[in-house]
Symmetry: C2
Subunit: 216 residues, 2 copies
Amino acid sequence: MSDVDVIKEKIISAAKARFGHYGYPKTTIAELADDCAMSAGNIYRFFAGKIDIATEIARRESLSAIKRFEAFLDCPYRTARRQLEELIFAELRYTYHLLEKQPKVLELAQIVISERPNFQMERVRRERRIITRILQDGVKTGEFEVENVARAAAAIQSATLKYRLAQLITDQPLADLERELREVLSILMRGILSRRQIETFCSCEIPAPEPIVVEN
Amino acid sequence: MSDVDVIKEKIISAAKARFGHYGYPKTTIAELADDCAMSAGNIYRFFAGKIDIATEIARRESLSAIKRFEAFLDCPYRTARRQLEELIFAELRYTYHLLEKQPKVLELAQIVISERPNFQMERVRRERRIITRILQDGVKTGEFEVENVARAAAAIQSATLKYRLAQLITDQPLADLERELREVLSILMRGILSRRQIETFCSCEIPAPEPIVVEN
DNA sequence: ATATTGAATAATTTATTGATTATTCACTGC
DNA sequence: GCAGTGAATAATCAATAAATTATTCAATAT
């Protein structure tokens, strides 16, 4: 890690702490500079602007979440179906808890999105790639049967959108959302499972709630 | 219609015109009163407050839209599936065009929702009732096969949420959204059709785009 | 040279004020 | 008594000023 990178990390780290505690607007560049024992002006040798620090933090949070979800690809579940269900449930629970326990994260996300409109695109694409991968596996083993994997992945992503933005759309409690998602997935799964699989269809492969710890 | 109701209508009518043209915030009670040839204070004998006039207008718009969609229940489509598909597509197109052509409607809706948080509840419930009805019909004729009609209706409503709030969630053009919805519905339908129906499944029952005129 | 500073400037936010507007209500006319 | 008024009050909004903050950059230190 280069010198520059070390200092960047120091700034990011100070910003994480302050943005998380006081929020983005209440944090000043001068404070971050103080935390890093440097002058305000010097911050600009490492980041083009305040919003870019926030964007970098959001990017990392987003990447770490995605990485967490990508882990489901290596998880040896019995079925692709189970894998897909676990993935979407994990997303619901993870983001729900994150936004509930760390309200400043939501604020930061909203600010970054409004200033950098295509920030979300990367995350959406990455998430879709995970879904695509699972679908491909399922198709290969004959578990799933879809005309076009890419389009099906997009459809599944859209159909479960509510459970990734839960708190922005509704004030239903988590248990409610989980019950609903269970039903949505049940129908979606039935919609992509192969005829062979449908014969033995049951709607209960979906995992029960379990506590999730939100990392910092 | 009582005297009071007549005057209420006059106020509503003036408000519709002004809210639609200048927007809610730029319209004053004094102007509405003028339009109705009465004093500002007198408005309050008919409505508890400015926001209540807006709420009544929004409620009517919402009811008229729902009524329009309820008409699909009487429409003699070949299949319940087709009926459901037509319904959701109609909702997408209708609200998309409404919000696109009459931006003040969106503004009004957002204001009403923020001031009267459970305003949407009635609409959501009514819409779900339509879906439920179609599902019931389909189950009766053996076209659909679902464990629990009410829960399935809720699931279908959630899974297609994006297409009822399109402009609030994405900036995709209508054609894009229609293509996506086609795929979502294709999967959902496959997920609720009975085994018998699945045998002859095709993914093309969904109607092609057609222009929709937004009423006032 | 390169890294850093801190004062200067530009942009934003906050506070303050003065309108404007929503809402109430004592009063008027029927 | 009921419908309606309009002046009085409360609440909100818009404009301005004041203060703070982001950003730049000439000067300084390493």
